[in-house]
């Protein structure tokens, strides 16, 4: 079983995201073989021109969606951390949707069962297509690392200029 730090997920960078929704279209084509953002596993929120972000499943530890399912239709993969849905058990009751703080669980308009980002078997199409490189397929560990490096760079801009 992989360590917690090795589980990769799709993370959006609000500083880079421009709200173009290319990820939604790429996702729906990969997962549903059609263009339809309302069936995408990743959705973009534009609050105003300056605040844009694409949001998908964050592979929570002890995922609340799994815990919330009264029919045991959801299960978290030990291997990847993604949520596996048993479509025969799911009846679309939506408890998992309410349990998810990120709006990453959605109800399929036709099959009437829920769907969640499955990371495209380890090669997320949204990340591949994002024209702004605003999406990362990464681990939480690497994300915190990046933030640390960025903040130190910012704090020591002058010193950096002097030494390079």
């Amino acid at each position: 079983m992989p360590k917690i730090h090795e589980k990769k997920f799709v993370s959006g960078d609000p500083a880079k995201c421009v709200g173009c929704c290319v990820c939604e279209y790429a996702c729906s084509m990969e997962q549903e073989k059609t263009y339809n953002p309302t069936k995408a596993r990743i959705r973009v929120v534009r609050l105003n021109p300056f605040v844009n972000l694409a949001v998908a499943c964050r592979l929570c530890e002890d995922a609340p969606c799994v815990a919330a399912c009264p029919r045991d239709a959801l299960e978290q993969s030990e291997e990847t951390g993604t949520i596996i849905i048993d479509e025969d058990k799911c009846n679309g009751c939506g408890w998992c949707i309410e349990a998810c703080d990120y709006g990453a669980v959605q109800l399929h308009p036709e099959t009437r069962v829920v769907y969640i980002c499955n990371l495209c078997d380890g090669e997320p199409k949204c990340v591949e297509w994002c024209p702004e490189e605003a999406l990362d397929f990464t681990t939480k560990d690497i994300l915190s690392q990046k933030s640390r490096v960025a903040v130190v760079k910012k704090l020591f801009q002058e010193a950096l200029k002097a030494t390079t």
Binding site: V18, V22, Y25, T34, N52
Partner: protein, 631 residues
């Protein structure tokens, strides 16, 4: 197949709706966007009906690629009707998110007919269509309307296309705005919408949009995405179109102070470089597009602090150099006000410039302006004039809200000498005395003065021709530009992305076939462009506005030599060269000397059913006096 294969008709008087199929032959002949929109307009309208008459239909049309992942074309729609400015054919396109939503709701076009007896908005929820009370939305800006409707209907992802106060008050240059900054800007479509008591169109579309050949289509989209990161879109991704300010200024081609001069001494202060360094806060994008070109400017301090607007060259020029204004904070505020009232920024700036010119020449006095000191360069007066126009406030606001052509007639006292419009539509920001291919192209454009009907400024600006004269051969340059742009506006590709089609029309034809499954050769596609231009011309002829005397240029371009020292000094368009240009253009178009499409030409293009409209016009011999109409 990426067409929805459905056309929706909404009778605003009764609330009744009807859906009819889009036939494949119709789709192939008119493509979508402005082509399909204009064909439907012709079929559902009668000649000679006033633009504000309930019987004037308002057509919203998506494109064959709308709703797909096609960058820039996936997100667009067009609006077509009769223009309250030109009284001829009107069309305008906008990108953003609304167009994709309308396609997903299941429509290639929506035709709004009639007039509601009270303010309503149309709520298109896939196949459920309702007219909703909009009394509480009256006076709200398009964006406020968008937010209020989303809250009212309780869905964050609903897309809205709406008018502001200008549209409600039938300001003839009113726009329709979707997604906060995206405008169906030109030709006064917001006023037509207002005349129908239609405040907004709100859409939720949940249907799939499929393409005929998903694998090859996706591969092609991938190639376009890659090219969008390259040189073809550099300008739009970096400084944006305001880069033009210094480029045109250096060419003595930047219209200044209502087209009086061709260079602006304040150009540096309103340049793309200056703008990006001090005002642009973020560059964002439309749905499906990897280019990202929306330069969002915010005024950080001063009297206009907080004003936020998408800044492009045209509006910046119209409300800046054209009014002699060199303050970007005031220009951003003026664009912001245009978006709040819902007005075309180009026409707004040209009208204010016209009013300033009248004021400077004593035709308008302080009494007429209620004390407003409308001198060129007065930034505060600019902003105030925009607000008055948007709300038809006072005598001045009410007169200017009629557009340059009608305002000049109402003001009288020789004001027509200062009116810069063609067919009633205000001129965009290219100095036509020093860009003469553009002069010819703008004059024959079917929707009135427009740089985007042919891109005819391009050979001038790029130095491919002698831009100080019109000669034989320019007609073909204009025609080729028009036919291509008709295709672009019917597939509704964003013109900023035109450069990414390295193989031009060949790749556009391939794109169309991959998406729709309808076989289309490049020859057939460019012929569709030609067909659409002829269709538009015939509609104008039906309205009595489509003949030679309406293909004209404003007095300032034809009669007044450029005063600026340097290469351009003394330049103007003379009647002789202009006639050579028109003759040349009509000849390559296969039109008569009066500018009427011949019966053979219409038949060649499969427009046999339009022959009856032109027949009588061709037979009548006596040509009307030149230079009479439109000025």
């Amino acid at each position: 197949m990426s067409y929805a294969k459905q056309i929706l008709r909404v009778d605003l008087a009764t609330g009744k709706t009807e859906v009819e199929p889009l036939k494949e032959q119709m789709a192939k002949k008119y493509l979508g966007g402005i082509g399909l929109g204009m064909r439907l307009f012709l079929d559902y309208s009668k000649g000679g009906v006033d633009a504000f008459n309930p019987r004037n239909p308002l057509v919203f049309a998506t494109g064959p690629l709308s709703g797909t992942m096609a960058p820039s074309a996936g997100n667009s729609y067009a609006v077509v009707s009769k223009s309250p400015l030109t009284e001829g054919i009107a069309e305008s396109k906008a990108h953003g998110f609304f167009g994709a939503e309308l396609k997903r709701a299941g429509y290639d076009a929506v035709i709004f007919a009639g007039k509601s007896d009270k303010p309503v908005y149309a709520w298109i929820d896939d196949d459920s269509i309702q007219l909703m009370d909009a009394q509480n939305l009256i006076g709200k800006s398009p964006y406020e309307t968008e937010v209020a409707i989303r809250e009212d209907l309780g869905d964050f992802y609903i897309r809205v296309s709406a008018i502001g106060e200008a549209g409600e008050k039938l300001v003839r240059i009113a726009s329709i705005i979707n997604d906060e900054f995206r405008a169906i800007g030109r030709t006064g479509m917001g006023a037509v919408m207002g005349s129908k008591n239609l405040k907004a169109v709100a859409v939720r579309g949940t249907n799939d949009v499929n393409v005929a050949n998903p694998e090859e289509f996706t591969e092609f989209v991938r190639i376009i995405h890659e090219r969008m990161k390259g040189p073809a879109t550099r300008k739009y991704r970096t400084l944006g179109t305001p880069e033009n300010v210094l480029v045109l200024n250096a060419l003595a081609a930047l219209p200044t102070r209502n087209f009086s001069q061709v260079t602006f001494e304040g150009a540096e202060k309103v340049s793309g470089e200056y703008l990006n360094e001090r005002y642009i806060k973020k560059i964002i994008g439309c749905a499906t597009c990897g280019m990202r070109c929306d330069h969002i400017g915010v005024v950080p301090e001063g009297p206009f602090k907080g004003a936020t607007a998408r800044v492009e060259f045209e509006c910046l020029w119209a409300l800046g150099p054209n009014c002699g204004v060199d303050r970007l904070d005031a220009i951003i505020e003026a664009i912001y006000q245009c978006d709040l009232y819902g007005m075309d920024g180009i026409s707004t700036g040209v009208i204010v410039g016209f009013a300033m010119d009248c004021y400077e020449n004593g035709i308008l006095t302080k009494k007429d302006t209620d004390g407003l000191d409308l001198r060129f360069g007065n930034a505060e007066a600019l902003v105030e004039a925009v607000k008055r126009m948007g709300s038809r406030k006072g005598w001045l606001g009410d007169v200017l809200a009629e557009g340059t052509m009608r305002a000049a007639e109402k003001i009288g006292k020789g004001a027509v000498k200062y009116a810069n419009h063609i067919k009633g539509l205000e001129l965009p920001g290219y100095a036509l005395r020093t860009l003469k291919t553009a002069a010819l192209g703008f004059s024959v454009s079917f929707r009135g003065a427009c740089h985007l009907r042919s891109g005819a400024y391009s050979p001038d600006v790029k130095g491919k021709v002698d831009r100080f004269k019109i000669e034989k051969g320019r007609g073909k340059l204009v025609m080729d530009g028009e036919d291509l742009y008709n295709v672009v506006d019917s597939l509704i590709l964003c013109k900023f992305s035109r450069g990414v089609f390295y193989e031009g029309i060949d790749e556009m034809a391939k794109y169309y076939t991959l998406a729709t499954g309808i076989e289309m050769t490049p020859e057939e596609l460019i012929q569709a462009g030609e067909r659409i231009n002829n269709l538009a011309r015939v509609i104008n002829i039906r309205e009595g506005k489509g003949t030679r005397e309406y293909d004209n240029l404003p007095p300032k371009i034809m009669n007044v030599p450029v005063p600026d020292e340097g290469i351009a000094k003394g330049a103007y368009v003379n009647q002789k060269e202009f006639d050579i240009g028109l003759d040349d253009y009509y000849e390559v178009r296969g039109w008569t000397k009066k500018g009427i499409p011949t019966i053979e030409k219409l038949k060649e293009l499969g427009l046999d059913d339009l022959v009856s409209i032109v027949e009588n016009k061709i037979r009548s011999k006596a040509p009307k006096k030149k230079g009479k109409g439109g000025k």
